[in-house]
């Protein structure tokens, strides 16, 4: 196991504050105005073989609905320890969510992918609505989700 991944395992989240070889990354998720109530979002990372690496953010406070973020839930079994300190309110339609995290340099250009699961009340589940490889070159390029996310972009 790589030393940095060992660190991830200890902190459970992928943020490594205070480590020199990390940089602040701003993740911006714009939601389309699909006309529904607040959306639950899970932002998390998988490694090159598709295994769960860690979570970055979970928007939505009621844990009873987390199972509808089905990919994230499947990988974590809904474990609360994966999201301690990195949860916030659900995001309204047409609004945007901005999260800043100190991400290790070694996460980029190493086969890691960022996933976003999304779900809204009485609407379809949208697991892995966004899946993009974490690359230095990909920063600043907006991508569109399948159902709820009009644009997602990460910037250094």
């Amino acid at each position: 196991m790589k030393p940095l991944l060992a660190l991830f395992a200890m902190t459970t989240a992928l943020t490594v504050p205070g480590v020199a070889s990390a940089r602040p990354v701003t993740l911006t998720t714009n939601l389309s105005n699909y006309g529904g109530s607040g959306i639950y979002l899970a932002l998390y990372v998988t490694d090159s073989s598709g295994n769960y690496a860690g979570s970055l953010w979970l928007a939505g406070r009621r844990s009873r609905y987390y199972r509808h973020l089905s990919d994230w839930f499947r990988m974590t079994n809904g474990s609360r320890s994966q999201i301690n300190g990195i949860t916030g309110a659900s995001v309204g339609a047409g609004r945007s969510l901005t999260v800043t995290a100190d991400l290790a340099d070694s996460l980029f250009d190493a086969g890691y992918s960022l996933h976003i699961d999304a779900v809204a009340e009485h609407r379809r589940e949208s697991p892995s609505e966004i899946v993009i490889p974490l690359t230095t070159a990909g920063a600043g390029t907006a991508v569109r989700g399948r159902s709820y996310i009009s644009a997602f972009v990460y910037n250094f």
Partner: protein
């Protein structure tokens, strides 16, 4: 206590409850609309077949969902573009747009949180809690008002607002309790206070790694009816590690996409099932008819909020302020009042004022505050107690008997009990009597004999006042002006005169029925509902004391009619007899529920003389259902004072009256109505054996004569007037 529990949450939460109820009622329509609109699956259809049909139309289907209404929605991706539609299960074809209704979503958000997030949810939960408290306390209050649990559905009397309040409550209380309890449960569930989370099984660690097993051949899906389906999620295309996820009404499972085998299954927990049922009961989703019923019941809430507020406002005005009420510790005389409506407080205020004038230090307080330890200077106690409903204690006296049991009777502290009531009720002054009996048994000295005041009679009150004065060594003259119900001007439209030739000037006066405004109806003002046999109070010019006349008509007749005889020197009868059409008098209605024909088909024997014919004629006029009615009527001379003579002939022809027997006192063979009864003894006895009900109206002397005659007639059958009275089959209205 129960009353306070009902009043304050009701007043405080009225607005909140109205918003909750109205939005809830609006929301209740949606499940029913979906139930009607959604194409329903045939009863034998399995999930496997449904999936097959949908796949045929939408090959890239990724999810199939069934709502509790039976509506089936399919979701798919075509080249990354999501699509969805409501599906007709017989064809698999999309038939309607699947976007959630925006109005429903808005209403839902408003109903659950007023768009204020978690704080709003808590506010609404408090509203539901208030609703529950109101429902439970209201159930007890209705029982108290009607006089017991078995009479919970019996008729209530009083001003319209109070009656409407109870009627709406009877319709809605069950639904409102269900809605509020389920709402509280759902709030607790939302805030994760209940262990009712539906947990899927752990994702299988091992899958076959193969793909392409047809959904139609999966055994679980072939054995699951569509009615049990909640959700079916397909594996991601080209992901061999993924599985089929099925959610049914019993649990969640993962199925291998290569073999069709069930890899993992988790049953819904008991808690989760209860929560799902509660959700269904609250929203009507899956129980549309119940939802609509609950919605209709919720519509009663605004009506109850309005009527309840009026009841409170009107009741608040009823209690007089007592000026110069001394502290309990300084009072020589302590007056304890137990009164539901507030009229007894008026009497207490009069007593307080008169005693204070004589230099006494007087304290008036509710019976529920009774505490002898505080009465350090008291020389006497006076209890003025009304009776509520079926012999119950009024609200302000509930705890009195318990406190009395615990108190030590002091030798220097004698007690006087005065009961207030209405003799037309079965349990006249029952609570006051109970207080008297207990006090005697516990060894309290009596200041005066136990006495009662019937229907706020100032005469009864003055009589007791003199006895009290005597006991206290005072010259005490209590002149109480009873609270006269707000009277109204009524206009004479016609009069028929009788009896001048026999020195008994009598008239049937007919007044126009004044129109009532809604506010008057709600607050019990104006003439109100009345029926023949009720009482018309007339306030003559130059007096504040009303005189009472039996009504010969009901509101349904469309006029107000009384029979009046001129008394020599009578203030009120003189004024009434002088009325010409177009003239007005001040009047109000007092109900007299004890003097009404019951609703049975048993024969009715009506006995009256003189103006006593009034209400009896009213009963005959109203007898449209052909009930056998036998009238015995005493008069002086048929050519002079045969009141309602022509009407009665007409009513007999119309079948309202079976038989009429008249007795004439000014003739060669003078006969009174009791004599007529004796003549017809055989018939009368037969009718009574058939279950006849007897109603007597007229002067006291006549009523006594009638009672004696009936005693003789009934004796062979082993019956007495008293036994008939006890059965409610013999009622009198005597003046």
């Amino acid at each position: 206590m129960t009353r306070a529990l009902h009043r304050w949450p009701g007043l405080l939460a009225a607005l909140l409850l109205m918003t909750l109820a109205l939005s809830g009622a609006a929301l209740s329509i949606f499940p029913a609309a979906y139930r009607v609109a959604a194409p329903q699956a045939a009863s034998g259809l399995t999930v496997a077949t449904l999936a097959q049909r949908i796949e045929a139309v939408y090959p890239t289907v990724g999810q199939i969902r069934r709502a509790p209404s039976g509506e089936i929605t399919a979701y798919w991706f075509d080249n990354g573009v999501p699509g969805a539609a409501v599906i007709d299960p017989t064809t698999g074809q999309g038939v309607a747009n699947s976007d959630p209704n925006q109005i429903e979503r808005w209403l839902t958000e408003f109903h659950r949180s007023l768009f204020l997030g978690d704080n709003g949810r808590i506010v609404m939960a408090v509203g539901a809690g208030a609703m529950l408290i109101l429902a439970v306390s209201g159930i007890f209050l209705v029982a108290r008002r009607t006089g017991g649990w078995r009479r919970w559905f019996s008729r209530v009397r009083g001003p319209m607002s109070g009656r409407l309040h109870v009627e709406f409550a009877r319709i809605a209380v069950a639904g409102l309790m269900l809605s509020s309890v389920t709402a509280l449960w759902m709030t607790a569930s939302t805030f994760s206070l209940l262990p009712d989370e539906a947990m899927p099984p752990n994702f299988p660690s091992q899958v076959s790694g193969e793909t392409g097993f047809a959904m139609a051949d999966v055994p679980t899906l072939a054995s699951t009816p569509v009615s049990a389906l909640r959700n079916l999620t397909y594996p991601y295309p080209d992901d061999a590690t993924d599985v089929v996820t099925i959610e049914t009404d019993t649990g969640t499972g993962y199925i291998d996409q290569g073999t069709g085998e069930m890899l993992a299954w988790a049953d819904l927990s008991g808690w989760a099932r209860v929560s799902e049922t509660i959700y269904m009961l609250h929203t009507g989703q899956g129980a549309a008819l119940l939802g609509v019923i609950l919605g209709l019941m919720a519509l009663c809430v605004p009506l109850m909020a309005v009527t309840g507020t009026i009841v409170w406002l009107v009741g608040r005005r009823g209690r007089p302020r007592i000026r110069g009420n001394v502290a309990a510790g300084r009072a020589e005389t302590v007056v304890l009042v137990g009164s539901e409506g507030g009229t007894t407080w008026g009497f207490a205020a009069t007593l307080h004022a008169e005693l204070t004038k004589t230099g006494q230090a007087v304290r008036v307080e509710p019976m529920s505050s009774f505490n002898p330890a505080r009465y350090s200077h008291a020389k006497r106690l006076i209890v003025m107690a009304a009776t509520y409903g079926d012999g119950d204690a009024p609200a302000s006296a509930k705890s009195f008997l318990d406190r009395l049991e615990q108190a030590q009777p002091a030798p220097g502290l004698p007690l006087s009990v005065l009961g207030f009531g209405d003799r037309s009720f079965a349990h006249y002054c029952a609570f006051a009597e109970q207080v008297q009996t207990r006090a005697e048994a516990l060894g309290w000295h009596q200041l005066t004999d136990f006495d009662t005041v019937d229907r706020q009679s100032p005469q009864d009150f003055a009589r007791w006042g003199r006895a009290l004065g005597q006991a206290m060594g005072l010259d005490l003259e209590l002149t109480h002006q009873p609270v006269v119900p707000a009277s109204q001007d009524i206009t004479l439209v016609s009069r028929r005169d009788y009896g001048a030739e026999v020195q008994s000037p009598t008239a049937i006066l007919r007044f126009a029925l004044p129109r009532r405004s809604l506010w008057q109806r709600l607050t019990g003002r104006g003439l109100g509902r009345f029926a023949a046999g009720d009482i018309l109070g007339v306030v003559p010019e130059g007096s504040t004391l009303p005189r009472f006349y039996s009504l010969a008509s009901g509101r349904r007749d469309g006029f107000v009619e009384i029979a009046v005889k001129k008394h020599p020197g009578g203030l009120c009868s003189g004024q009434l007899m002088a009325l010409e059409p177009g003239d007005t008098v001040h009047a109000f209605v007092r109900r007299n529920p004890g003097f009404r024909p019951d609703r049975s088909k048993a024969p009715l024997i009506l006995i009256g003389a003189g103006t006593g014919i009034g209400p009896l004629a009213g009963f005959v006029r109203g007898n449209t259902r052909g009930r056998p009615v036998h009238l015995f009527f005493g008069m002086r001379h048929p050519d002079s004072d045969f009141l309602y003579g022509e009407d009665l002939t007409g009513w007999k022809q119309d079948g309202h009256l079976t038989r009429m027997v008249t007795a004439v006192s000014r003739s060669q063979a003078p006969s009174y109505v009791q004599d007529a009864l004796r003549t017809e003894a055989t018939d009368v006895a037969r009718l009574i054996r058939q279950g006849a009900r007897i109603m007597v109206c007229g002067g006291r002397g006549m009523a006594e004569g009638v009672s004696e005659a009936l005693a003789d007639i009934l004796a062979p059958a082993g019956l007495t007037p008293a036994s008939l009275k006890a059965q409610g089959r013999y009622v009198e209205d005597v003046y």
